[in-house]
Symmetry: C2
Subunit: 139 residues, 2 copies
């Protein structure tokens, strides 16, 4: 069984489909625990501050992005935890995955910023390459 | 549950670890069916013919590479099938995965030809990018 499941999410459509697959992995397994990580990009973080008047707004917007994910996890009755990290998404997820040790990492194939991904390579590709655990890439 | 599982294998160490993860996916699921595909590369196929005297030898060597995988599947008591394809590994696996429709494709992160992969990109990366189903990459 895959007990310790890391779900890397940016709240995008692909990430929502990734939740469904993470839940399939956790199905009928009372030991399953899903740890969701959402990475606030360094650049994005600065833009958020410039565009919003206060930290409460920023925090609210970030939480809003994960609301649907959290709803799905709650509805499935699985044990879960949501963590917000700051930094460059790819390396941040890899660092987290390798330090905490997971049975599997589930991630959407494309995130919110498709143009950047076409140039720099997708976050999912970076994670699949550098994380020590098996990585499930969801379309 | 993941019922229809495609296991792409080249008999390498990474592929053997991929079998273990495919079996974890099939665990406690009586509907699980693992379809193993082993792709005989076009170039490799010609080299095999030049180095070996008869087709029986070639066939034997190919089957030998999958023997350990088959042993593991048999021992686990899971339903499985082994298919040998011919062509370029990445595109052949993608075509097979997309035509037959699977719940998940499990593949090792690196195959037998690491030098070629460093230049051309790994087969697993190509599959993760182009297969329509979720792809689990195993280290």
């Amino acid at each position: 069984m895959f007990n310790k499941i890391l779900l890397a999410s940016d709240g995008s459509e692909h990430a929502i489909r990734a939740v469904e697959k993470a839940l399939l992995l956790a199905q009928n397994n009372s030991n399953a625990f899903i740890e969701v990580v959402y990475v606030v990009d360094g650049d994005k973080s600065k833009a958020d501050v410039l565009q919003n008047w206060n930290a409460v707004d920023i925090d609210f917007k970030r939480k809003e992005k994960l609301a649907f994910t959290e709803q799905k996890l709650k509805h499935a009755g699985v044990r879960y935890e949501i963590n917000i990290l700051h930094g460059d998404p790819g390396p941040s997820i890899v660092k987290y995955a390798n330090e905490k040790v997971f049975d599997v990492c589930v991630i959407g194939s494309r995130g919110l910023n498709s143009l950047q991904e076409m140039v720099l390579g997708s976050v999912s590709h970076k994670v699949a390459k550098r994380a020590n655990c098996p990585v499930m890439i969801v379309k």
